[in-house]
Symmetry: C5
């Protein structure tokens, strides 16, 4: 799993039906990369989250028919880039 910080919500003008109605959040990883994930938890901009990839991401979204390869699966209580650098 990866550690990411939520940067904003993605607005899609055209979207496949099987994405369901969950919001898609844009995330930054600890190493600076950008990704997008389904959010079944309702996390806020600035929060640090924990994400699950690939086949387990579909189950984590709450419905195996949802189309996703990355799903937000937990909000981290106490994280900072300083913790990571210890």
């Amino acid at each position: 799993m990866e550690i990411h910080q939520v940067t904003h919500q993605l607005i899609l003008t055209s979207r496949l039906d099987d994405l369901g109605h969950l919001p898609v959040k844009v995330l930054k990883s600890v190493s600076g990369g950008t990704a997008a994930a389904l959010d079944p938890i309702g996390c806020k901009v600035g929060e640090w989250v924990f994400t699950i990839a690939n086949s387990a991401a579909r189950t984590a979204s709450g419905d195996d028919r949802y189309l996703t390869d990355l799903t937000i699966s937990g909000i981290i209580d106490n994280w900072s880039l300083d913790v990571d650098k210890d």
Copy 2:
């Protein structure tokens, strides 16, 4: 999922039958990498899109028998590299 910009359509001289008849688009990621994806939506060069990888990519293509590991799954309403740098 990843955020990509469409750069051009790929012209294939030899192609496996099970790719179906969907166009294959060449994409640049936010970090500068190049990838290719099936496009069931019909997006245009220059648009920013949202892509799904691996097993969910096959379902996203509209037919689980299609051979793909990356499928364009939404067009992003408002994206720029500036948004990403905020």
Copy 3:
């Protein structure tokens, strides 16, 4: 599989039920990257471990219903960055 060193345990305030009750450990890879993994073995901070990704990670967690894409699967007897540089 990858070689990682355990840095700390992750504290989650909100967590999907299907993560089960296994601890989630934060790991550093040999190349410096950060990841998080389910820990069915009970390893300690500072130990070097061996991790399994993707679909085999679910089986490695002890229950295929657990949501994970990375699971700690062995503790390494003798590892140091020096060994890696030989």
Copy 4:
């Protein structure tokens, strides 16, 4: 999917039976990385090809029992590093 250029054919002295009898080609990606892929198409050194990874790679090889995580799935008609840099 990824865009790769064929560099040479791999000669294996010991090989698992379930690789079948397809040639294994060594490839360079657009970003400079090296990979190996099964080749059910018969492409030549120097050609630019399009590859499919992971579970779809097994289907793309022509037999789901073949062991592969990367399969060459099309030859690109018109590609150069200059196209990529436009």
Copy 5:
């Protein structure tokens, strides 16, 4: 698939039962990264090998119940970093 060179055998003090009894080898990739793989072939330190990842890695290990995401699947007859740089 990837091209790797065998650097040493991994000694595990604690190990999940479903890894089976195959040795785990530590590998360097052509690009310098480190990984670990199950070895059903019996390759030696210094040899260049060819590895298969993800779901096909389980089949390649000889038993789909084995827990692995990377399995050594062939020994390369003639490889050097010079070949790669041609």
